[in-house]
Symmetry: C2
Subunit: 340 residues, 2 copies
């Protein structure tokens, strides 16, 4: 690509201003403004002349001066990564949809990690965005403080709050505990956990899982760091099964990892899910319900996560964190009761 100008060329003609409309309609600029504010009264005669002139020039009110005055843009930045995971894209959809219902626009920011979220927010603040919803967890107290310092309201989903941030999270720890119960009740005695990386929600799930296993007097599980993708789940399972006696139950950090793991279990090792190994995922992405997959998993209540995130931002209550219950979907990769 040749070196290009930072901005695309402006539209051939610049957009007409209210002054241009006023000139054409033979009224003052303020009258045009009034016609388009809808709140003020304008005589029917004048209104019609103005609307005709506006239509002729294809006039569209410019929101920028108002933003300049009020400091409020009606724009929310949504920070996201992991586009390959339907959990995130569906979250994005719902958040955008809810923002739109409140007449707020979504500025989408794509980033693979939260490492540079401070720069991103700093960058975007030149547009005077009204707030930030981060679908990525904030990774450190240092970043959280910087964000707080930026004085732009921010809500993070499935993130630690560091005592500062407003957060909305699925009850990850309790899900981990339930996963342990499902596997143990299903007869598993030798379980494993395929972990994600650098994510507080994944840590919470892991902690809940380990604690409950200990309570149930089951051996501590073998823990392997996979990641969050199908491929990483596949590879982690290959490694897991190559490393010693096979487990009889695996809890996976997310559905994509679980699906990858199942493909490895079945195709590389010729083992059966759930007869040889039971598998549980997390997220409740649509693919988990496909008949050919039929994965037992935990639904994250994306609708509520999104709704509470937008509420927290728009209503600007005192900083607080909201926990959203998960929902277990028992399907074909686990057994209801031990038949031993």
């Amino acid at each position: 690509m040749p070196s290009s100008p930072p901005h695309p060329p402006a539209a051939s003609r610049p957009q007409p201003s209210s002054t241009a409309v006023a000139r054409l309609a033979g009224v003052s600029q303020s009258t045009v403004s009034r016609v388009f504010s809808a709140s003020a009264r304008v005589s029917a005669d004048v209104r019609e002349r103005v609307l005709n002139a506006a239509a002729e020039l294809n006039y569209r009110p410019n929101a920028l001066p108002g933003i300049l005055q009020t400091g409020r843009s009606g724009i929310i930045a949504v920070v996201m990564g992991g586009f390959y995971n339907p959990f995130f894209t569906e979250s994005l959809r719902q958040v955008t949809s809810l923002l739109h219902a409140r007449r707020l626009e979504t500025m989408l920011v794509e980033t693979s990690s939260d490492g540079n979220i401070e720069d991103i927010v700093g960058d975007l603040s030149r547009y005077r965005i009204d707030g930030v919803i981060s679908l990525l967890a904030i990774g450190s107290a240092r970043v959280a403080k910087k964000l707080e310092h930026a004085a732009i309201p921010i809500v993070a989903v499935n993130s630690e709050s560091y005592g500062i941030l407003r957060t909305v999270s699925t009850d990850n720890r309790s899900a981990g505990a339930t996963a342990a119960d499902v596997l143990v009740d299903g007869g598993c005695r030798r379980v494993a956990y395929l972990a994600g990386r650098d994510s507080p929600s994944q840590s919470e799930r892991q902690i809940g899982f380990l604690k409950r296993l200990a309570q149930r007097r089951v051996h501590a599980p073998q823990v392997l760091v996979a990641g969050f993708s199908y491929e990483e789940g596949y590879e982690a399972a290959v490694k897991l099964l190559a490393s010693g006696p096979a487990p009889d139950g695996i809890f996976c950090v997310c559905d994509l990892v679980a699906i990858g793991a199942m493909d490895a279990i079945r195709n590389v090792y010729g083992l059966s899910v759930p007869d040889d190994i039971q598998v549980i995922g997390f997220d409740g992405i649509p693919m988990s319900g496909w008949q050919g997959i039929n994965l037992t998993t935990f639904h994250q209540d994306i609708e509520t996560l999104a709704r509470e995130s937008v509420n927290l931002l728009a209503e600007n209550p005192p900083a607080r964190s909201i926990t959203v219950p998960h929902q277990l979907a028992r399907r074909g990769t686990t057994r209801a009761l031990a038949d031993t």
Copy 2:
């Protein structure tokens, strides 16, 4: 939800202006402006005083006045729907990423159909957006004309151009033809097509498929309108197989439909893919490559689609349409050669 103000409350303190920084640093506002424009020369002494004052106030330059003057915002609206289909979300990711590389921001607009795209563009033009990339096809010449009239540069992906719009599209017709070849070469003699709805790219695939079948002297396929989702593919296949003698090959409008159809074929009718019925999808979403699915499909070259879309918008060449080649991925749901 109680009736809420249209905008979230502004950040507690309004963001400081360059004037505030100037006051604190004991210089004029223009000097502050110069320090942050980087182009102009400022003495080291003054620069430092200004930067210190700016840091103390946590000053961030406001982009709006500049936009007001130039009419160029550096914001591109990306119109999208079908979040459940990884083809669209991956397209969104790549487009956003490329825009970001050009220092352009993405304003995300979610809409289920293109029906109201005119309203959307009209709405957004109050932010003086520099252009629009629509990942949804523009559905009618009427809408295309309106968009043209709005004088905002627009590029549509996999859309008809109506002789006006700039478009970037996969070579859908040729893919349809290749699908016919693959099935016929694989021994199919009685094929079906599971169609989408209201989409020019889907029509093109269908036309290419039908034409090539005729050339190959195979009976015209049974065509059923499914849609674009797993569920719709599933239901369409159930209906298809219930309606008479089963086909021995099915071309599906997209991968999700193909995957749904396969689940129905296998689980409802106990038939084998590919032994009884061969299946071809379209898009090349990641799931098509999962071992448990292993679907023969056509990869849309999203990278190129996204790159050309952004180029077309940013470089503002004379209106033109670009066709991007697809790539066939032969996998386990078709057979290479007829063994009859």
